[in-house]
Point group: C2
Chain length 238, copies 2
């Protein structure tokens, strides 16, 4: 047996002795990219069962894993939800990767008046989140919600959890100060051109929304998302 | 005259009535990308003279600018210096762009034992910093220092300014807490594989170095740089 520094998410239930074939993505990665061979030991994880050592059997077109023993118990990974306007493809992909590393619990792409796209590649974003979770030693993979309008997302929120909305407004307090005052919450990042007037009115009327500033400079939307999560997630995870 | 939402850095001295030909980069951007025409008014800025309205004269192969009046005075833009291991090209370029948006004063690429490259494209990094400064309403463009070894950079530092070194070490305090305790300072981010033993010893012996944590997850080096600057620069700029 050879321990490999490889860590893969699996949707399959993990328990001692469980044996199962890996999916196409994991098979390709293990057999072609990492040149895994039978007897190699890797780590597998999912949100329910924690992280397990697992031994591989590599055949011509399939890789089978046998779970050996658990090395990390399942754990809740508390983190903010990020609601972010549908940015251009590369920028949204960057946000998903970095948000996952920074501990986000879920990502909600938003359709807004000034959003640059009206559809997002959900499967591609979910794959990026999975890979970033594997790389960053997370046990959970953040859920990528389907694209929805801002008002529908606001209508569903419980008003007792703060939603920190990054705005370019002189009277907004700094995010770190707002989190110190209001506690753990979620982050809302608008599109490159900002929210439209009707959206700003909806935000002002929604319970729990706290307008925050991310400093004196003009940040691109993806920078605002990553910077805001850095401040928020690092504070929430201690 | 037509006001254009265009903002360009220039190395030329700006004063009322000063007239000068723009360089190849600005000429290309104005004439080809933005399709500027004679009479268009843009903003020009540099660190010494602040930001100016300037009227363009667009000829076949040259664009001339005439400074009209100052709209923002020169200002000191305090920010941390980022010392960062020479990452792979795309990752280092991302760091330079985002660090500039987040207000970094200067960027020092580091040659380290485990750095993935032994040279960086200095001109390309400087151009990225310039473009990010133009986009983010900065008045200054962060200097990109030439690649140097970690020990040379450490030897030159004054010990009274903290250098926050992101390390994966259980006893390191969180960056936000460290900044609250020690005050404004600079940020040090190692290579993807971490610092080598000799480098860790040099860091431990260097005056002013404060080991800090960026949370419980494993961050890619470029994520650590951006997240650390978000925490540090937002705090330093108020």
């Amino acid at each position: 047996m050879s321990e490999r520094a490889i860590r893969l998410h699996t949707p399959v239930e993990l328990a001692a002795g469980v044996r199962f074939g890996l999916d196409a993505r994991a098979t390709h990665y293990l057999a072609k990219v990492m040149r895994a061979t039978s007897g190699d030991v890797v780590r597998l994880f999912n949100a329910r069962d924690g992280e397990w050592r697992a031994e591989l059997t590599v055949a011509k077109r399939a890789v089978t894993a046998t779970a050996l023993e658990r090395v990390r118990p399942a754990a809740v990974e508390p983190g903010p939800t990020l609601a972010v306007a549908a940015l251009k493809r590369a920028r949204l992909e960057l946000v998903v990767e970095k948000a996952t590393e920074l501990g986000v619990a879920a990502i909600q792409p938003l359709a807004t008046a000034r959003a640059v796209v009206d559809r997002v590649n959900h499967d591609r974003l979910a794959a990026i989140a999975t890979e970033a979770a594997e790389q960053s030693e997370r046990l959970t993979v953040p859920a990528i919600a389907p694209l929805r309008p801002l008002d529908a997302v606001l209508a569903e929120r419980a008003g007792d959890r703060p939603l920190y909305a990054a705005v370019e407004r002189a009277d907004a307090s700094g995010l770190a100060e707002a989190v110190a005052a209001h506690g753990a919450g979620d982050l809302l990042i608008g599109p490159e051109g900002g929210f439209a007037a009707a959206e700003r009115a909806a935000l002002a009327a929604a319970p729990g929304v706290v307008a925050v500033s991310l400093g004196p400079r003009v940040l691109r939307a993806e920078t605002a998302a990553i910077a805001g999560l850095a401040v928020l997630a690092l504070r929430m995870s201690g």
